[in-house]
């Protein structure tokens, strides 16, 4: 019993939790902001090539995570244009850093936020926005005071789903950010390593932590519906 308590309050147990939360929260905030703005833009505008752009944005949802990881390595790798720019700016490559994990989480979580927000904006009665327009509201005021409150259910469930997806990301993170304890070793990676090395106690503890979190989030989505 003492050893279990020791495990729970040990640096080894807590470290992946903090890493995961930090990454998921930062990625989540970025995804929620960009996803909401992009969804509203695509829900209201029609133009040529829209279907192709949207398909590209949604692609990470159907691609295997290892393929996402592969593209991230190719795009931000040492030989790419973006990779060299980053190396020149920050004096080190981004691959295998904490920021790489954030980027991986953003890419896989974005489609969930985007999809949910867009269906929220599409389901709205457009005449409510028109009423605000006639009432003298500018486009930004309409967005903040009308569109966002009206789509709030969809925005909240999208936020929860994309946060959960960011928290659970495994394949792309493992390839692009690696498995550096205290920096890029997230909960899902820690669980994988624990099982691989036969440390079932740690695995169970981490699984209980993440399942509790996920169940609560999923219940929140369902209640919102």
């Amino acid at each position: 019993m003492d050893s279990l308590l020791n495990s729970i309050f040990s640096e080894a147990f807590l470290s992946p939790i903090w890493v995961s939360l930090k990454i998921a929260i930062i990625a989540g905030i970025i995804v929620i902001l960009i996803g909401t703005v992009a969804a509203r833009f695509f829900a209201r505008k029609q133009f040529r090539g829209k279907a192709v752009i949207e398909t590209l944005l949604m692609l990470p949802m159907v691609l295997p995570p290892t393929v996402v990881g592969f593209f991230l390595i190719v795009i931000f790798g040492k030989n790419s244009w973006a990779g060299q720019a980053i190396t020149w700016l920050f004096d080190r490559p981004i691959i295998f850093t904490w920021w790489a994990a954030v980027i991986a989480a953003i890419v896989v979580a974005f489609p969930l936020m985007y999809q949910s927000a867009k269906s929220g904006f599409l389901a709205m009665d457009r005449d409510i926005e028109n009423a605000a327009r006639v009432d003298g509201a500018s486009e930004w005021k309409i967005f903040f005071f009308i569109s966002i409150p009206l789509a709030s259910k969809a925005l909240i469930s999208g936020s929860i789903l994309s946060f959960a997806r960011a928290l659970g990301e495994f394949g792309a993170t493992l390839m692009f950010a690696g498995n550096i304890p205290g920096e890029t070793q997230t909960l899902p990676i820690a669980i994988y390593i624990a099982i691989d090395s036969g440390n079932m106690v740690m695995a169970w503890l981490w699984v209980i932590a993440i399942v509790t979190l996920s169940f609560l989030m999923l219940l929140a989505v369902r209640v919102k519906e």
Binding site: D127, N130, A132, R133, V134, D135, A137, S138
Partner: protein
């Protein structure tokens, strides 16, 4: 308070679907203009062009002699009532009415004064802190009106505002809107597909079909002197009866039925084939010298009146008679028509010739 000028207003969708074509209309200050026509006639499209919610493809729109084509909705100083109310569902009744005033940077005291005034007029005082979802259909309709009137805008636009209410409430809200207009005197454009609303509310009405104006006039003018078969058939309920017949020197032939008519009441210089229009209330039972006898096919009791369906020269018609006269299907009735109320239309152009 404003006048409007709509000049050659045209709306084309997807390069070739013409929704509205060369719409011309001058609206004077304080008028209550009703656009009426079947669904898809373009009436709502014109309203949304005036509101700035649809781009104007061709033509010009003037409000108080200022060209408005490129002015955005929020700067046109119009207020609008939408078909499905389009209330802000996340705001209380008070906030719904206050929103437009806030956007126009009114002071808090001014907003409070105006909202309370409008709420008192519309009987919304007890509901100011409810959300729209907790209101009945009629109350929501009132909130939509309230949101429009607090603004004290130059022009009111109303897009079928009563269409989602049931028959009883519609009649009631109709008179409320009329008395609101006579109190506020704001220039109003009102769109509806319901000819009863059009007749009872308009100072002038514009009858539309297929994106084009059919007739502009007072309700009385349009009812009594429709310019063509479309307007004659669209305005009035039950609809006007039409018979195809032919002119003779001293009367009309409808099927095998001959109806003698004094020469002064017949059109001159017309081709022989003709469409005759008779409103159901312009036929009556006359035992002494009836124009024709006919067998009643169906009888509809409407309370004070009874509608009878029968045939004249094998062409079906509806006539309205008082319910005090008991009538059964199968019975044969002697009927006459008020000759001076008959209308005559050209069978080719469908325009009225007399």
């Amino acid at each position: 308070m404003a006048n409007l000028k709509l000049q050659q207003l045209t709306k084309v969708y997807n390069k070739n679907e013409i929704a509205v074509k060369d719409f011309n209309l001058d609206i004077k200050d304080k008028e209550f203009i009703v656009f009426v026509g079947p669904s898809g006639c373009g009436k709502s499209t014109i309203l949304r062009m005036v509101a700035g919610l649809e781009d104007i493809t061709h033509g010009e729109l003037f409000i108080d002699n200022q060209k408005m084509n490129d002015v955005s909705s929020k700067d046109r100083d119009i207020a609008m009532v939408f078909q499905n109310y389009a209330l802000y569902p996340h705001m209380t009744v008070y906030q719904n009415m206050a929103f437009g005033l806030k956007m126009r940077k009114q002071t808090k005291t001014e907003i409070e004064r105006r909202v309370n005034e409008a709420a008192a007029i519309l009987g919304l005082k007890p509901f100011l802190h409810r959300k729209p979802a907790a209101l009945s259909g009629g109350q929501r309709q009132r909130v939509a009106l309230g949101r429009a009137i607090v603004r004290d805008a130059n022009v009111f636009l109303m897009d079928e505002p009563l269409s989602s209410l049931d028959a009883k409430l519609r009649v009631q809200m109709r008179s409320e809107i009329i008395s609101l207009h006579s109190r506020l005197q704001t220039t109003t454009i009102y769109v509806t597909h319901d000819q009863t609303e059009a007749m009872t509310m308009a100072t002038r009405l514009v009858v539309l079909n297929h994106g084009q104006i059919q007739q502009i006039g007072t309700p009385k003018e349009v009812y009594e002197q429709p310019v063509n078969v479309f307007v004659a058939g669209f305005i009035g309920s039950p609809a006007m009866n039409f018979f195809s017949g032919s002119l003779t020197a001293s009367g009309l032939k409808i099927g095998d039925q001959y109806i003698p008519i004094p020469a002064g009441l017949l059109p001159q210089n017309s081709s022989q084939d003709i469409i005759i229009g008779v409103r159901p209330e312009d036929m009556y039972i006359e035992s002494a010298t009836p124009m024709f006898h006919t067998e009643i096919e169906a009888v509809e009791l409407l309370g004070a009146d009874t509608m009878i369906n029968a045939g004249l020269g094998d062409q079906p018609f509806t006539a309205r008679i008082p319910s005090s006269i008991a009538i059964e299907p199968g019975q044969t009735l002697p009927l006459s028509i008020h000759l001076n109320r008959m209308l005559f239309f050209d069978s080719q152009s469908k325009n009225r010739i007399f």
